[in-house]
């Protein structure tokens, strides 16, 4: 039992380190898409490792913890893909040092349908600051 406890504690520590690194990543990265890469994906592994470690500390709860991991694995790519797609359609640009943007080129060449026109972002790149109406 002691061995299981030690392995679980190590996994928890490693996982929380990954959680911390993911949060550090979203603070350091230059643009939205890179933040999505480091932020949501590195924290997915941190989440999985931490939950598996906690499950090893308390083996009776393992099925429910596996269910939580399953939900995270299903919903996380869905939400980040939806966010990336919506942001790209709304016209948020890539960072200055980016190499290539095949999607923008193909959109302008008319190869695929352009982004939806229902939503016009007034100033892509930073928050539209509304005038205060007091």
């Amino acid at each position: 039992m002691a061995a299981l406890d030690i392995i679980g504690a190590l996994l928890v520590l490693l996982g929380s380190l990954f959680l911390f690194l993911g949060a550090l990543g979203i603070l350091r990265m230059p643009d939205l898409y890179n933040r999505m890469q480091t932020g949501t994906k590195a924290t997915t592994l941190g989440n999985m490792l931490t939950l598996v470690g906690l499950g090893l500390l308390e083996p009776a709860w393992l099925p429910k913890i596996c269910l939580i991991i399953l939900f995270v694995l299903i919903t996380n790519p869905l939400s980040s893909h939806a966010l990336a797609r919506a942001a790209h359609r709304a016209g948020y640009p890539l960072a200055a040092g980016s190499v290539t943007d095949a999607l923008r080129e193909d959109e302008q060449a008319g190869g695929i349908e352009p982004g939806s026109t229902a939503c016009q972002v007034r100033d892509p790149g930073s928050d539209p600051q509304p005038e205060v109406a007091e």
Binding site: L24, Y33, M36, C66, L67, H88, A102
Partner: protein, 166 residues
């Protein structure tokens, strides 16, 4: 026959979920869960199901589907270590861009799993899907060419998914 198999599969999956949610093996709970799972499956049986034209009875496919899970976990761990290395370096070592890759998969479920797998491995993120093309945001672009990028990003997953979904 095929519809019956699908019915039993979905009912069993829902029942398993119920049991994990409830958390004990009381016969009363198990009975109620089985009835509820069968009822839910019956109520939605008229609608089209994504898994309808997938045949899981082939042992080779089952084996590949089981082998896909450790492969996926290994890919996630390797890619995560790579991204973590990039985050902690004092100078950001990134080279981002959006590339276009082509997929050979025809089945919509297989495409969904491919796109989600690409999104789940750090370093690559599916931004848009259009026809056979997937537009991937890549944190370290070393192949702008569509063919080479497809080989590097998607080939590993496609090898498994092609067998699973035939």
């Amino acid at each position: 026959m095929k519809r019956l198999g699908l019915f039993l599969f979905i009912t069993a999956a829902l029942w398993l979920f119920w049991l994990v949610f409830v958390g004990n093996l009381d016969p009363q709970e198990m009975l109620v869960g089985a009835v509820a799972a069968a009822l839910v499956t019956l109520l939605r049986s008229g609608q089209p199901c994504l898994l309808e034209n997938v045949n899981f009875l082939n042992p080779r496919r089952v084996f590949m589907a089981l082998a896909y899970i450790p492969y996926m976990i290994w890919a996630i761990i390797v890619a995560n270590l790579d991204v973590a290395r990039r985050v902690v370096q004092p100078r950001l070592d990134i080279n981002p861009g959006i590339v276009r890759i082509k997929t050979r998969l025809k089945n919509p479920v297989a495409r969904m799993i491919l796109a989600n797998s690409i999104t789940l491995t750090p370093g690559t993120l599916t931004v848009e899907v259009s026809g056979d093309d997937l537009y991937i945001h890549w944190i370290d672009v070393h192949a702008q060419d569509s063919e080479a990028a497809s080989r590097e990003i998607a080939a590993g997953f496609e090898k498994y998914l092609e067998v699973i979904f035939g």
